[in-house]
Symmetry: C2
Subunit: 188 residues, 2 copies
């Protein structure tokens, strides 16, 4: 009677989910958000509206689901130089992506849903990614901030500005990373 969180891959349920997600992504990329409705999404995905209503509940929940799955990291962040440099590059790209129109909308969709599960998922994704840098630094004996320091003093200010203020620029983001580094490993 209930819908499973993660449908078995290859099954009908998984195909429907993929089709609906794809349909949503296409529509968000090409049309005005106000025109994205469940009946339209259903039509594009070759699915009945009631299927979507029963599975996701409402448009906000569906958009939050799509946004969260897009926000899930696809792989390990690149390892080019020191952990500090890798982190700086990764954070800068992340900030750019989130500050863009689409990124901003994804953040909003994730937050707008009645259920906070998707928002918490995003927080978890973020901590996982940052942990990779911390582990690398530790492996090299490179001094590095803690996870809490990174979340509080780098990620939080970036997200806050995107949500409540103007998008942060690159200089600002680099400054945050520099300031959080221990023992003034600073450069630039």
């Amino acid at each position: 009677m209930g819908y499973r969180e993660n449908p078995r891959p290859g099954g009908r349920s998984a195909r429907v989910q993929a089709a609906v997600h794809q349909s949503v992504r296409d529509m968000l990329a090409t049309m005005d958000r106000a025109d994205v409705t469940i009946p339209l999404i259903a039509q594009r995905a070759n699915v009945t509206p009631s299927t979507i209503y029963r599975r996701w509940g409402d448009l906000q929940a569906l958009l939050a689901d799509v946004a969260a799955s897009h926000l899930r990291p696809e792989g390990e962040p690149a390892s080019i130089g020191s952990a500090r440099e890798d982190l700086a590059a990764w954070v800068e790209q992340y900030a750019d992506e989130m500050a863009s129109g689409l990124g901003r909308q994804m953040l909003r969709d994730v937050l707008a849903a009645a259920d906070s599960a998707n928002a918490e998922k995003c927080g978890t994704y973020m901590r996982c990614q940052l942990s990779v840098f911390i582990a690398r630094a530790e492996a090299c004996g490179e001094p590095f901030p803690t996870l809490t320091e990174l979340m509080d003093h780098v990620i939080s200010p970036i997200i806050y500005r995107i949500l409540f203020d103007q998008a942060p620029d690159s200089d600002y983001v680099r400054g945050l990373v520099t300031k959080v580094m221990p023992e003034s490993t600073a450069r630039t």
Copy 2:
């Protein structure tokens, strides 16, 4: 043909706005958010649904408007002791309020709206309030963080946690304030 942002006080338009806002606040306080609909709000406010649709557009916009107006500071923060102590007390209360179910919902409502105007308003309110503490400290010659430091290292982490993680507790909030103070004015 357009609706004015700030209706003249005492006019019919202002009365309708007040009635609708009141109706929304009552409903949010007493019933499940999923049951709060525009037709219901209209009925309680003795107004036609079409009036609300024409004026606000949709439910999200109306909720964002109500939330933002509730988030507007009502007066200067209390001045009991040093600027540092006043700030700590004020921030702690702010964090508590935002972390509560209703506070959290207000943040979400403000962010969920298609128009980011209300979210930016909230950012502005916050900077105004913090500026008061900064001005007081300066008047007393008390060393104090800058506005940017307060926004980035105190407010942002609190809001981020509320939105994407678990609600921050008092100890954590006090720690943020302590850490941002210059020259280790720290105590407890």
